[in-house]
């Protein structure tokens, strides 16, 4: 049984594939180019989803185009072979560029893409002996395999659109897969990504390479359709137009790329027609394109897709039936030291934020970390969870040195965040399923080609179970951003639970919670304690802390001033003076 949405997608696809056969031959070419640009734009949409940008996508098209055209022309090899070769070569180049540039933060990345875009495009012109320079090369062979050439323009156009639609299908699939959920964290949720085992650099490079592959493929298809290669179609202007297509369609869905490409190509032909009628020549339509780009980003940053999607039937949700991932049964072997901090210190410039922190966390313990504002709780928490490195001392987890960022969760330590880190547009259950990232392994390609069904169902089933456990089963399919803050905090706990942790780090989980929500929280915490989960809790709500934890660690001004049972700590004069003041002057 197909869903209404899938049926509609199928109908639209069939219609698009039929278009070349009903258009007059002049328009077939235009439609073919639209399909080629759509293919690149779809890749750019993926980049935007990952919070990345490329102002040099035209250069990757050019690499694919020149690679395939030159080899085919010189050696007479079947062009399908040269196409695969040149797309692979482009992927290698993109991987190299990606590893160099994608570590860069913020404002460097767009500049870097612009720079290699121009540098590569200049090579096409400058390397005259090989590329034919600015005037280009003709006699490029058509697309062929085993000597059979594809010379029918309508059939070729159909092929282009088939590839583009497959890319859209694959990327739509990817978005609801393990990798797709991880990609959603790449825009501005680095701490979250790291905490749940996502290697953001590698994932960014993968996304970048895939978008380059689509561009190279599009370039190669372009050049064997036109049978002529020159630098101008791969210039910066093309890169900019492709970017506009992606922005116009919007980053919400791969289909946005197709909508953007069709919109912009129609706009271009219409505008050129009008301009010609007014007797104006040159690329004056860019004035309008620039305005479109600015207005879209100012008024409709999500692009046209949401406006289209309103009229579509709801997408089918991926299955979450059956058993979830197996949970580790935790032993009651209390007393074993799981986490040990030895003389931890950290300096920020002239500020010694923490000094000489010695602390242990034993299996099954429920420890509270408290202290007045500015005591260093959050910093200590960041060090324990691997977001920050201490200046002195060492942290051992299960007897080994604390691994770097994204490996920590794999060792069995998961966390929640003080400032809620959920992907607001993504559904609650998908946010929670992010917790299973470290326990599953379907990669980019398995997500793309829908070879992750079993594993994805398990991950979602685990997420569903975790949500039911914390009493949010009914909210599973709402957008996470639509929940009230208190529920969002509980969702964070559910997500951490799906990671199947032995140690759970909770960073102010009760902040902003209503009374009834706090009761739920306490219930969940007690239950986890009964299941022998080791918990470290940072919290300001003293009533909640005192009522739950077995042991308290009190920080003040970067040092531990007291440790012990809640009762002892409450009676400790150092603690009282730290919280209420007064004693401090005498001590000093």
């Amino acid at each position: 049984m197909m869903s209404a949405r899938a049926t509609l997608a199928l109908i639209v696809s069939v219609a698009l594939l039929a278009v070349p056969w009903v258009l007059p031959s002049f328009y077939v070419g235009i439609f073919a180019y639209a399909g080629i640009y759509a293919l690149v734009a779809v890749g750019l949409v993926l980049l935007l989803q990952a919070g990345q940008i490329s102002l040099g996508q035209g250069a990757f098209m050019g690499l694919g185009a020149y690679g395939s055209a030159l080899v085919a022309r010189a050696y007479g090899v079947d062009t399908l072979v040269t196409l695969v070769l040149s797309v692979s070569a482009t992927a290698l180049v993109a991987a190299l560029i990606g590893f160099i540039t994608l570590r860069l933060r913020g404002h460097y990345l767009p500049l870097a893409t612009l720079a290699y875009g121009i540098a590569l495009a200049s090579v096409f012109t400058a390397w005259h002996e090989v590329t034919g320079g600015a005037s280009g090369l003709d006699k490029i062979p058509p697309l062929s395999l085993f000597g059979f050439a594809l010379t029918d323009d309508r059939l070729y156009t159909q092929l282009i659109w088939a590839i583009t639609l497959l890319a859209v299908l694959g990327l739509s699939r990817l978005r609801t897969s393990r990798t797709g959920r991880a990609i959603a964290t790449l825009e501005g949720h680095d701490g979250l990504a790291q905490a749940f085992g996502i290697d953001t650099t590698v994932l960014r490079v993968k996304v970048f390479v895939f978008s380059a592959v689509l561009a190279a493929l599009a370039g190669a298809l372009y050049v064997h359709l036109l049978r002529f290669v020159s630098p101008s179609p791969f210039s910066l202007l093309t890169s900019f137009k492709l970017l506009i297509m992606a922005v116009v369609g919007g980053p919400m869905s791969a289909a946005g790329g197709v909508i953007g490409a069709l919109t912009l190509e129609s706009a271009q032909w219409t505008l050129q027609d009008i301009l010609a009628r007014w007797g104006l020549s040159g690329n004056l339509e860019v004035i309008v394109f620039g305005v479109i780009l600015v207005v879209m980003l100012l008024k409709w940053p999500q692009g046209l897709w949401p406006a289209v999607e309103r009229f579509l039937p709801k997408p089918t949700l991926r299955s979450r039936a059956g058993e979830g991932l197996a949970r580790t049964v935790l032993t009651e072997n209390r007393g074993e030291v799981l986490l040990r901090l030895e003389s931890i210190g950290i300096r920020f410039g002239g500020l010694q934020a923490l000094e000489g922190i010695d602390m242990e966390l034993r299996r099954g313990e429920f420890v509270g970390l408290i202290g007045p504002n500015g005591a260093g709780k959050t910093t200590l928490f960041s060090i324990i969870s691997g977001l920050q490195r201490q200046t002195t001392g060492r942290v051992t987890l299960f007897g080994e040195p604390l691994p770097t960022g994204h490996d920590i969760v794999r060792r069995g330590m998961a966390r929640t965040f003080q400032h809620v880190q959920l992907i607001p547009e993504m559904s609650v259950i998908e946010n929670v399923a992010l917790g299973a990232y470290c326990r599953t392994d379907a990669g980019f390609l398995r997500g793309l080609f829908a070879l992750d069904e079993h594993e994805n169902r398990q991950a979602l089933a685990s997420a569903r179970a975790a949500l039911e456990r914390v009493g949010l089963g009914a909210e599973a399919d709402l957008a996470a951003g639509s929940l009230p803050l208190g529920k969002q905090r509980i969702v964070e706990i559910a997500r951490a639970l799906v990671a199947d942790p032995q140690i759970l780090l909770l960073d102010e989980p009760a902040a902003g919670l209503r009374f009834s929500e706090k009761l739920t929280l306490v219930k969940i915490l007690r239950q986890l304690q009964a299941e022998n989960v080791t918990i470290l809790l940072v919290e300001h709500d003293m009533e909640l802390v005192m009522g739950c934890v077995e042991r308290l660690v009190v920080l003040d001004r970067g040092r531990i001033i007291a440790q012990g049972s809640p009762k002892d700590v409450q009676a400790n004069p150092a603690v009282i003076s730290a919280y209420l003041g007064g004693g401090r002057d005498k001590a000093a």
């Binding site: 102002l55 540039t101 612009l114 540098a119 200049s122 970017l243 004056l284 780009l293």
Partner: protein
């Protein structure tokens, strides 16, 4: 051989100084508004072509851009009119007066046949406010957008402005008179006076910006917005005004660089974009935040450009833009050290 080296040195220095004014603009805009302004180079083009028009006794097309921009500004702010008539009429009145002043100034300058330097000042007065208008249209409505959104917006601005340049001036190049014709033989190498003019103007501009930032209240407000936007806002600094001011000053510096560059290469609608990007390559050396390091960067860019133009001219742009990769790698290792 040493002649060649000397020539390349002078040429590289001249290029470097032109890019220095761009890098100055880019750093100023980035630090105050967090906008990576791909469109910065378009002010180079506007400055050069406006000067070309003025020197040839034509009404510059820039004037229409300015008046159009002011009108659009008035239309966009129509919402204010409903609330406060007095403020609104002052505001629109101000815009109208600004338009009339610009028109009168241009007519006067054309009637008086001012010398090159005079015309440069008039051109500057016409181009610089466009920076503030662009800020009003593209940054002011979404002050908290991400870097990427601003980059894409500036791409749109660049396309539109370049297209308008093509519409107004056409694709033909325009010759522009230098401040002083002729040049000087320094040993075996001929150095045009224009190169000296570039040197002096660049130094004046940099010195002026420094003095302005350090010794005036407005300049300090600009610095404060650059260091901490939110903090500056709490101190009562109108951050939108400082943003617009940064855009205006940056437009002025870039326009000056265009007017100085044009006599060496002729002015055309495409000339600005690449100059802007080369300013970026140099500015990246200072992470777009550090003026002195950006200067070092643009000098390296200028030198590499001259050398490669001499050794392998076809690959000049390839080499110049590939330079960004080692620069960024170097920045990257630096920023890691800083993070530790």
């Amino acid at each position: 051989m040493s002649d060649t080296i000397l020539f390349l040195l002078v040429d590289g220095l001249t290029n470097g100084l032109v890019y220095a004014l761009l890098a100055l603009s880019l750093v100023l805009v980035f630090t105050v508004t967090r906008v990576v302004n791909i469109a910065q180079g378009e002010y180079v083009m506007l400055g050069a072509l406006t000067l070309a028009d003025l020197l040839q006794g034509r009404m510059p097309g820039t004037l229409y851009l300015l008046i159009g921009g002011l009108a659009l500004c008035a239309i966009l702010d129509v919402g204010r009119w409903r609330r406060d008539w007095r403020q609104a009429s002052l505001y629109t009145g101000g815009l109208i007066v600004a338009g009339i002043v610009a028109l009168a100034l241009t007519r006067g300058a054309l009637a008086l046949h001012l010398p090159v330097i005079g015309m440069m000042v008039v051109a500057l007065i016409l181009v610089a406010p466009l920076g503030a208008l662009i800020y009003r249209f593209t940054v002011h409505p979404i002050p908290n957008a991400t870097t990427i959104v601003f980059v894409i917006i500036s791409v749109g601005v660049s396309m539109s402005v370049q297209g308008l340049g093509l519409l107004i001036w056409g694709a033909n190049p325009y010759p522009v008179d230098p401040i002083a014709a002729g040049g000087l033989m320094m040993g075996p190498v001929f150095i045009p006076y224009q190169s000296f003019a570039i040197l002096v103007t660049a130094l004046l501009a940099m010195g002026g910006l420094y003095l302005f930032s350090e010794f005036t209240l407005v300049g300090k407000a600009l610095q404060a917005s650059a260091m901490n936007r939110l903090g500056a806002q709490f101190c009562g600094i109108p951050v939108n005004a400082t943003g617009a001011l940064a855009f205006l000053l940056a437009a002025a510096f870039s326009a000056i660089s265009g007017m100085l560059l044009a006599p060496l290469i002729t002015a055309n609608y495409e000339m600005g974009f690449m100059v802007g990007l080369k300013g970026f390559v140099g500015g990246a050396m200072g992470g777009l935040i550090d003026y002195p390091l950006s200067l070092v960067g643009v000098m390296i860019v200028g030198g590499l450009e001259s050398t490669s133009a001499y050794v392998a001219s076809a690959y000049r742009d390839v080499l110049v833009f590939s330079l960004l990769i080692p620069i960024l790698l170097w920045r990257n290792t630096r920023s890691r050290v800083e993070a530790r």
